[in-house]
């Protein structure tokens, strides 16, 4: 056998996979086979198995680190085409690196949408936005709602179409951190977790698989109806207070990834979003109470 030949039962050195995440097509190439296994596990319903005419928005690679680090604490690097925006990660965190790399890719490229840093869930065609602030418990709450019958549109990005004014789905795994992993495991036996990545830059991280229904319905947008700024505070009773539309507008404009970049288009999209929603802030410590409260949100008069 020459060096170039490979036994028929061995996987190719580099693997390629294409999959849909909402309106985007991702082409991933990597020599790290474990990443591809996890992509298939997370995105089974949206793997592209036949040639498609849809253009690829994100050509990404996850590569092994430099040769001298192949054996001693091996590393992985993320690349969007020719750009490698992050320092190397430990190789066993490569899937988490891919997911964070895709977040970065969307944030710098997807300017056909007003991009809000928010989880989004849907019920009866109406979307609930949960804009993030650090420590707000956004992802934990989004995971709990997705496990109680809400359709997960996104954990990270509110993709607001400035023309249709609808919110587009971007269903991806929810990265839960530290205690939130056990909170959600205890919350629902239906929760399907990938491996725990210990001691990442954000602590221990495990990805909750997006529900199959969310993946299958990723072409169905939703009309915005509610905006709730959640805040987890240990020991706090559930408190919900209405927010003025101007205050909501101000907070969302600061929360957006590309509001300033979009100029008047972003302003009009955000103003319409706020106008069409009921807006609150909510503080809680009991996840079940908060989930129940979200199910009782009144809709805005149209």
């Amino acid at each position: 056998m020459t060096r170039r030949q490979r036994p028929a039962n061995r996987l190719p050195a580099r693997q390629r996979v294409e999959y849909r995440i909402g309106p985007f097509l991702v082409h991933l190439e990597t020599p790290i086979h474990r990443i591809v296994e996890l992509v298939h596990w997370c995105y089974a319903e949206t793997i592209v198995r036949a040639p498609t005419t849809t253009p690829v928005q994100f050509n990404v690679r996850v590569e092994r680190g430099p040769l001298h680090r192949r054996w001693l604490r091996p590393q992985a690097t993320f690349h969007l085409e020719d750009v490698s925006p992050f320092d190397p990660f430990p190789a066993d965190h490569a899937f988490a690196l891919l997911e964070w790399g895709l977040n970065w890719s969307i944030a710098i490229r997807a300017h056909q949408y007003l991009l809000l840093h928010a989880a989004v869930l849907e019920r009866d065609g109406r979307a609930l936005l949960l804009p993030a602030t650090p420590g707000s418990g956004k992802s934990t709450l989004a995971a709990a709602l997705a496990l109680r019958g809400w359709r997960l549109l996104s954990d990270e990005f509110g993709l607001v179409d400035p023309h249709s004014r609808e919110i587009h789905p971007l269903p991806r795994p929810i990265p839960l951190k530290n205690q939130s992993i056990e909170v959600i495991r205890a919350f629902s036996a239906q929760a399907q977790f990938g491996p725990v990545f210990p001691r990442t830059r954000k602590g221990d991280v495990a990805h909750l698989r997006p529900p199959g229904d969310s993946l299958r319905r990723q072409d169905e947008p939703a009309r915005p109806a509610w905006i709730v700024f959640p805040r987890y505070r240990a020991g706090s009773p559930l408190r919900r207070a209405a927010m003025t539309q101007s205050h909501t507008f101000a907070r969302l404009s600061q929360n957006s990834f590309n509001y300033r970049l979009l100029g008047a288009t972003g302003f009009e999209a955000l103003a319409h979003l706020v106008q069409s929603c009921r807006c609150w802030r909510a503080e809680y410590s009991d996840l079940k109470d908060m989930v129940a409260a979200m199910s009782q949100l009144p809709t805005a008069p149209q």
Binding site: T244, A264, E268
Partner: protein
Amino acid sequence: MVPLAPGRIELTEAASKRWALVNEASLAWAVWDTDNALFHGETGETHLLSELPALLLQILAAGPRCEASLSAMAAEQCDAVPDGAWQRKIRQVLTELANLELVEPTNRASP
């Protein structure tokens, strides 16, 4: 003849000063109950405005006005007495709007 106090002279000169919107076409509004958001396309800035500055901008959207006329129209709409304190308040708001590059002094005529 009793000379006017310096402050009175300053107020009189200011009252004749004319103001205009910088470029109405570059402004986009979102109006809620008592608050307003204004996007200024030339600076790329978004401003949250309370009632009085929003009212002054809306009056100026119809065309340039002198400060005395603006003050009187705003007082009427706000049920305020257009006394010296009110005029100073109007001038302060106009100065702030000018600093935000939303209004500017002008020689253009009223509509």
